[in-house]
């Protein structure tokens, strides 16, 4: 089951000192702007994140025309409707989960991830165990997230080797008929849009 893991290795103070020295050098040489750095951090720590993607999914659940538009050209559709655009979201492909198909995304070579709709990837997505194992044992990996994919369901792993970014559209939970888009979006987790979990249940 997911837990608030603190098991990642505590890095030595060395990188902290190296980064500090490098940043000072870059500022001194006029190669970076200190305020620009703050905007970059604030953007990806607080502004651009999986709540963007949750709005996209909720809209796709209630609006058939929008769903068709993200299947045709997801980047263009989310730019037009929500204004989500730009870096690491230039070529998004939406892959839809159904009663017969479960999609899940990885980047075995680095950490490619659809930033415009999900923000920056979590540590586990970028780490060796996930990158190594998902392509060979998707059911085993998903079980570690508490997600059981029945044998009869076709499981599709998407390895993000190009600049195309994959966004999973999870199945709409049962018992959510008539829900508002906003309420539905609360059921859409980051992990559901990577494909390692389902959307939350209506009773959650």
């Amino acid at each position: 089951m997911p837990h608030d893991g603190e098991e990642f290795t505590e890095p030595p103070s060395d990188p902290a000192l190296r980064v500090k020295a490098l940043e000072s050098l870059l500022v001194e040489k006029g190669l970076v702007d200190l305020e620009a750095l703050d905007v970059l951090i604030d953007t990806y720590e607080h502004k651009v994140g999986p709540r963007n993607g949750a709005r996209v999914v909720a809209r796709a659940w209630v609006d058939q025309e929008f769903k068709l538009s993200i299947q045709k050209d997801c980047s263009a559709a989310v730019k037009k409707v929500f204004g989500f655009q730009g870096r690491q979201g230039e070529h998004i492909v939406a892959v839809e989960n159904t009663s017969k198909i479960h999609n899940v995304v990885v980047c075995t070579l680095c950490s490619c991830y659809p930033w415009t709709v999900l923000g920056l990837p979590p540590v586990w997505y970028k780490s060796a165990p996930y990158r190594a194992r998902l392509v060979q044992d998707p059911r085993g990996v998903l079980a570690e997230f508490g997600t059981c994919i029945p044998e009869e369901k076709d499981i599709r792993v998407w390895d993000s080797t190009s600049e195309v970014r994959y966004l999973v559209i999870p199945e709409r939970p049962i018992g959510t008929e008539g829900w508002t888009e906003e309420k539905l979006s609360m059921l859409v987790t980051r992990n559901a849009m990577i494909g390692v979990e389902f959307a939350k249940e209506a009773s959650s």
Binding site: H3, K20, A36, Y44, L109, P122, P129, V135, I155, T161
Partner: protein, 218 residues
């Protein structure tokens, strides 16, 4: 290159350790700074995304795998800054500036959103006819380039089926050495059995984006 970064199918790394969504994506203050200076230096336009990836992966695999994620970013950034002449080795070691940036103007805070919003699309308008068609059986070349490539080792020599045609995109193998060249990009569907053998029969499929030069007819 067959580097430490090419992880698909490797064994022995242990469990995943998922984290809750509410947790910050940064775990240390220095990671925030490493992330920001990497993006800000990218704004200088001295290298592209494949050069950046290659700078991170072109390390002793033991080092790559021992480093944390942002330690690899930091290593890549330091390497590129020196390689492109933006800083000297001596400056990197001493932390002291020995030369100015010759009056170069760098993007300020007011330009960050606009730069991020414009992104860096890699598709190229090109009317060429793709060599492979939807549904066609293809095989990944058994090739082991020593430079940057986006052809994962676990796919090499394996057969799959063309599932999508993404159009012409910048070809990473050449882009990583500063040559902009477009090649047709496909999504190839591999049955689990084709990649991992008989015991994986019926265990779904893996979809991989692969450029035309990585593929051959069967």
């Amino acid at each position: 290159m067959n580097g430490g970064h090419d992880l698909g199918g490797q064994h022995g790394f242990g469990p995943i350790n998922p984290e809750l969504e509410k947790k910050s994506i940064f775990h240390h203050e220095w990671e925030r700074r490493a992330f920001a200076i990497t993006l800000a230096c990218g704004f200088l336009g001295k290298w592209n995304i494949d050069e950046a990836r290659h700078a991170r992966e072109f390390q002793n695999p033991v080092k790559y795998l021992t480093n944390s994620y942002y330690q690899n970013w930091l290593y890549g950034l330091e390497t590129l800054l020196v390689k492109k002449g933006l800083i000297t080795e001596q400056e990197l070691l001493s932390g002291k500036s020995h030369q100015s940036n010759n009056g170069r103007s760098v993007p300020g805070a007011e330009r960050v959103r606009e730069i991020l919003a414009s992104g860096g699309p890699t598709n190229i308008e090109d009317a060429r006819v793709p060599r492979f068609q939807y549904g066609q059986q293809v095989k990944v070349c058994n090739d082991h380039p020593i430079g940057h490539t986006r052809m994962p080792r676990y796919t090499r020599g394996c057969e799959g089926v063309i599932d999508r045609l993404h159009g012409v995109h910048v070809f990473p193998d050449k882009n990583s050495v500063g040559e902009v060249d477009g090649e047709y990009l496909y999504n190839v569907r591999f049955e689990a059995e084709a990649l991992w053998g008989e015991p994986h029969k019926g265990q779904g499929s893996v979809h991989v984006d692969l450029w035309e030069p990585y593929l051959e007819e069967t």
